[in-house]
């Protein structure tokens, strides 16, 4: 099929509970820009059971047209059923660009779809642009453990696909009045043609750490010296309403659970504020947090690489600085509450 027959920027609309996952809304924001630059419509595709209301939400967040696959067979995400729907839609409507959130679902689905459509897929993109003339997608991502940034092109195959990291792109403000087209697609997928079944979904409600969703992260490293050393971090975090993160060395020392680990082999985070306390700033740590909005480093060693990667740095002993900082913070917050008159 000729490349020029493909048109439109699409976003896979991932469902989260009864709404659209934040990352998909962010992609609608990013996709809107690409679609406008290229002068084409922005499409969304939503797959599930009783998901039609989500189409309207996507429109409010920027979609011009939303394709809906609504059937009990799509109740739970399964690679095989969802990929059938996505491929069906791609073959019928031929989008030029197709974006997915780099979540477990998005990455799983995109990898399968790309193989069947024999097209290119760029993983974990953090920057997107499009050539308005050719429609060529420029998808950029950290590579080689974050040592370089690379721009990936897919010249001869369509759709050009990319998974995009959560919290990197910006969602538009929703506009209730925005109008868009909702197209209900029908595709019969038979249960007996599927080779996997979801037996049970276990939501881990006890696990409080959703480090990748946190706006503020207070992360500690080996520099904190001990499990007790981490206590100060927990206190600081609770004071400022932050989530505690950690370097791998701190996790491996057994001072904190691995759910808290930030970096290449941990979680990739993009909070608005990131404190790195007693963390040297090894590249594997940096790749997991370098897209944070504001990075603050506290480290005894003026030569620590973290100071090259931060916005503001304090050279000093965490056990001196953090308590001072904590106290100052507590004071500032008390003051806010007073003014706020909320209590």
């Amino acid at each position: 099929m000729a490349i020029q027959d493909h048109r439109g920027v699409w976003v896979f609309l991932e469902r989260k509970e009864d709404t659209i996952a934040p990352v998909s809304l962010e992609l609608l924001g990013a996709g809107r820009k690409l679609a406008d630059k290229r002068g084409v419509p922005l499409g969304g595709i939503v797959i599930g059971h009783k998901v039609k209301p989500l189409a309207q939400i996507a429109v409010e967040y920027g979609a011009d047209v939303v394709y809906v696959y609504d059937d009990p067979i799509f109740e739970n995400y399964r690679t095989e059923s969802f990929m059938k729907a996505v491929i069906h839609a791609c073959e019928k409507h031929k989008p030029e660009i197709f974006l997915y959130g780099a979540t477990s679902t998005g990455k799983d689905l995109a990898s399968a779809v790309a193989t069947d459509l024999e097209t290119g897929l760029t993983a974990d993109t953090t920057m997107l642009d499009v050539d308005s003339e050719t429609g060529l997608l420029e998808a950029s991502r950290p590579a080689f453990g974050g040592n370089i940034m690379a721009t990936i092109l897919c010249k001869k195959h369509r759709p050009q696909m990319a998974t995009v990291r959560p919290k990197v792109m910006k969602a538009l403000d929703p506009e209730k009045k925005r109008r868009g087209e909702v197209i209900v697609e029908t595709l019969k997928v038979k249960e007996e043609d599927l080779r996997t079944k979801v037996l049970e979904i276990v939501r881990d409600t006890t696990k409080k750490v959703k480090i990748d969703e946190a706006d503020i992260i207070v992360a500690g490293g080996k520099g904190l010296g001990s499990k007790e050393g981490f206590d100060i971090l927990h206190r600081f975090a609770s004071v400022i309403g932050a989530t505690v993160g950690a370097s791998r060395d701190a996790v491996e020392a057994g001072w904190i659970d691995h759910h808290h680990q930030v970096g290449q082999t941990g979680v990739t985070v993009t909070p608005k504020i990131y404190f790195a306390i007693g963390i040297s700033g090894a590249i594997q740590h940096l790749v997991g947090m370098q897209n944070s909005g504001l990075i603050i480093a506290i480290n005894k060693d003026p030569e620590a690489p973290i100071f090259q990667a931060c916005h503001y740095g304090i050279v000093g002993d965490a056990f001196e600085i953090v308590p001072m900082l904590m106290e100052a913070f507590q004071n500032a917050l008390d003051k806010e509450v007073q003014y706020g008159g909320k209590i």
Partner: protein, 275 residues
């Protein structure tokens, strides 16, 4: 008897690697080549399943000749057989071309001994995509199961597997028909020190080495750079955050300055303050 094949790759240790700042290319000589850490967990899981159910563990890699070393590492972990495909024709492969070449290798291995289960790592630390595993599964037309963090059961007699698949907020229990492909999380297992007999075996072990000509029904246009839809158009050093300001003065002064900066973002802390 299960036949489990783990897909493994030798990678430069990106922790130590130095970049040439002029060309933005990796100085490969600066970094030792290691078994992709995630793939070690794939092999370990295969070895554990062998201990549970009986069977044979093979590993397969596509890579340059020195990758034999990575195979030997897998033998140390407990793999029985190693297969390597190596050829200039594979060079420059992206994930689509990699999954094609590995699929051809797996088809050949399956002729020697039918495969019940393929296990991949979550991702490689150099390619860093996690796309090759699902790609192989699609090409072989078997179910891809990603983010596998626990194997509950492999039932060869009845032809199914039950696993836990990690989600952002928990996990799902999935039953799949066999054969299928797992991409495993690193927390699925811990890798113990290798027993001495394995080390001795590894030292002597010579893997099966195949070139393109040894594989069957290969469409050469789908291999290597030619078979790769994606190309890298440019590379550049990651942008350092702007600012990089070292705060000055006594510790007390520095802390004040920091709070001042943070209070410009006070909306983030307001939730807490308003509670």
């Amino acid at each position: 008897m299960l036949h489990i094949v783990a897909c493994i790759k030798q990678v430069p240790d990106t922790k130590i690697i130095k970049m040439n700042p002029k060309t933005n290319t990796m100085d490969r000589s600066s970094a030792p080549a290691i078994l992709n850490p995630y793939d070690a967990h794939a092999v370990e899981e295969a070895v554990r399943l062998k201990a549970r159910y009986g069977g044979i563990v093979s590993v397969v890699t596509m890579g340059p000749p020195p990758a034999v070393k990575a195979i030997k590492k897998c033998i140390e972990i407990g793999a029985d057989e190693g297969y390597m495909i190596t050829d200039r024709a594979f060079a420059g492969a992206d994930t689509l071309a990699t999954s094609y070449a590995l699929t051809k290798a797996l088809e050949k291995i399956a002729k020697i001994r039918p495969i019940d289960l393929i296990i991949c790592g979550k991702m490689t630390i150099d390619g860093d995509t996690g796309q090759v595993g699902p790609g192989i599964a699609r090409r072989l037309d078997i179910p891809p199961l990603t983010n596998v963090k626990k194997v509950v059961e492999i039932n060869k007699a009845e032809g199914f597997a039950v696993i836990h698949r990690k989600l952002e907020d928990g996990h799902e229990v999935i039953q799949s028909s066999l054969p299928c492909l797992f991409s495993v999380e690193k927390d699925i297992n811990e890798i113990p020190y290798s027993p001495l007999p394995n080390m001795l075996k590894a030292a002597r072990y010579q893997p099966h080495i195949w070139s393109v000509d040894d594989l069957e029904e290969v469409d050469r246009t789908l291999l290597g750079l030619k078979g790769s839809p994606t190309i890298v158009s440019k590379v550049w050093p990651p942008e350092k955050p702007k600012g990089g300001e070292q705060l000055q003065g006594t510790p007390a002064e520095q802390v004040d300055r920091l709070l001042e900066i943070l209070l410009t973002k006070k909306e983030l802390f307001a939730v807490k303050g308003g509670e």
